[in-house]
Symmetry: C4
Subunit: 159 residues, 4 copies
């Protein structure tokens, strides 16, 4: 960890997923994750501290299965209201790259080192971001983000 | 309730969902709900009386799980044929904002205080509406609607 | 039945559905049906003989559940190779309106009274059709078709 | 097999599917396959050696069910890192047509006889391909590819 200068904090829903919830009469049962993102993250994970956050308490077991069990990254449950302070206190904004798609993500996208919004983000997030990915969430948006992070911050670093 | 001047009556299918039904050989088992709508509704729920209606009897347990159990809003089963009179008698059109996407919704969208159609609505609903959301159903259409309602009707009210 | 001049023969997959199959390790388990189509069919069903066909043997129980059990229309399993002769012999082309989206549907779309392709159809079907719906399959394509049939063939008939 | 001059090697995810994974709390449970591809493959399978590859170990039982059990084609599990050498050694590039959508597919698309990328492929694959299909994965991309292969390589052959 000590040689990882940057943190990459990623909101899950709408960024790693389509943002949609498939419901049965028993509740929220499925989420839709996309291709390429796992490949993109592998490209930068040795140089960047990758952390996922989610505000979705009910869908947490689904998200945990994908992010923690299958992909091997840390995941924290943080409400949208607490998100700004959580990132500020835990990581600081100076060396943190943040990717999010919602209204509550806009102030974080503005404050952090580099703010990334997926193409499908709310207008408020798009306007606050430094970079908007050409792909939508669950269609390669996080892969796009990783390529941009590599190009912009890691080119002179040994990977 | 007494200080809530406006009603916001929302049709579920095609507005809160993609309008699609995922079928197995056992029948209609899933619906696809989207992001941001819950956040949008929270922004206005203290000032607006929010009520959901649906004509989908077979999918009612799925809809109820999402709208009533998980989100906490009232939901009424009303056929498309009864919908116009139901809203007229229960809420009146004068202070009712209505959001719907179907052919049967067009006359209600015309009569009510403010008619909203999601981007994916039938042409008949689009033409009858006062406002068409930039997002599709299950992609933030109800969040768009809430922001527009806030801007247009609630700016001078304390929220 | 005797006063029904026209037959409306509808291919299910890609017309009433997105054309996609959701697979688990146990096989083809779900299909995605769309909104508005049931409303559209109700508008014309007293004047037009509505029949569904499908070439999907493995997904037949799913299709049957939606079309026969839940919507109440007849459904026949006909292979794509047999389809042309099946329609010719069972209904004749003279008073048959056909809606299909595939390569094998093109010759039927050309021969029948009025050929309809959904927006998402294969190029071969689009080119052979008399009318292409503004909506895609499972997004209202059959509702579009019913409105066009009503306008073009049933306006002078009492519905 | 001896009269089959060409191999057609097809990556499954993002080509035969949308590339997306539907997750429950138990893991990757569904993939979305599309229409027309099976029809397209039938058009060329007597003249072309059709082989599927996938790097998705966790989703392998789902992929196997569709490709091997239901469609009857061979399927091999090959990691993305091994893919280039696997194709080179097993089939050679000279008479191999390859279709893939990912970053790791780009060098294979460049080297092989004829490289095909679906419309939804990563930019790197699009740029390396000789032909980009008008349809997306799970919306007919493989059918498009088969029609192009037939037109370009099989027109003078008896099918």
């Amino acid at each position: 960890m000590k040689n990882k200068k940057y943190n990459f904090v990623i909101d899950v829903d709408g960024v790693m997923t389509t943002g949609q919830f498939i419901y049965s009469e028993k509740g929220k049962v499925y989420k839709i994750f996309g291709p390429h993102d796992s490949d993109g993250l592998k490209m930068i994970k040795n140089k960047v501290n990758i952390v996922f956050i989610t505000a979705d308490k009910r869908g947490f077991p689904i998200t945990k299965k994908r992010i923690v069990d299958d992909m091997g990254y840390p995941l924290h449950l943080v409400t949208e209201q607490e998100r700004y302070n959580y990132i500020k206190e835990k990581f600081g904004f100076e060396n943190t790259i943040f990717m999010g798609d919602g209204i509550f993500d806009a102030p974080i996208l503005k404050e952090c080192k580099f703010g990334i919004a997926p193409k499908n983000a709310r207008k408020e997030a798009i306007e606050a971001a430094d970079f908007v990915t050409p792909s939508r969430g669950a269609e390669g948006a996080v892969c796009d983000a990783c390529i941009e992070i590599k190009r912009r911050f890691l080119e002179n670093e040994k990977l």
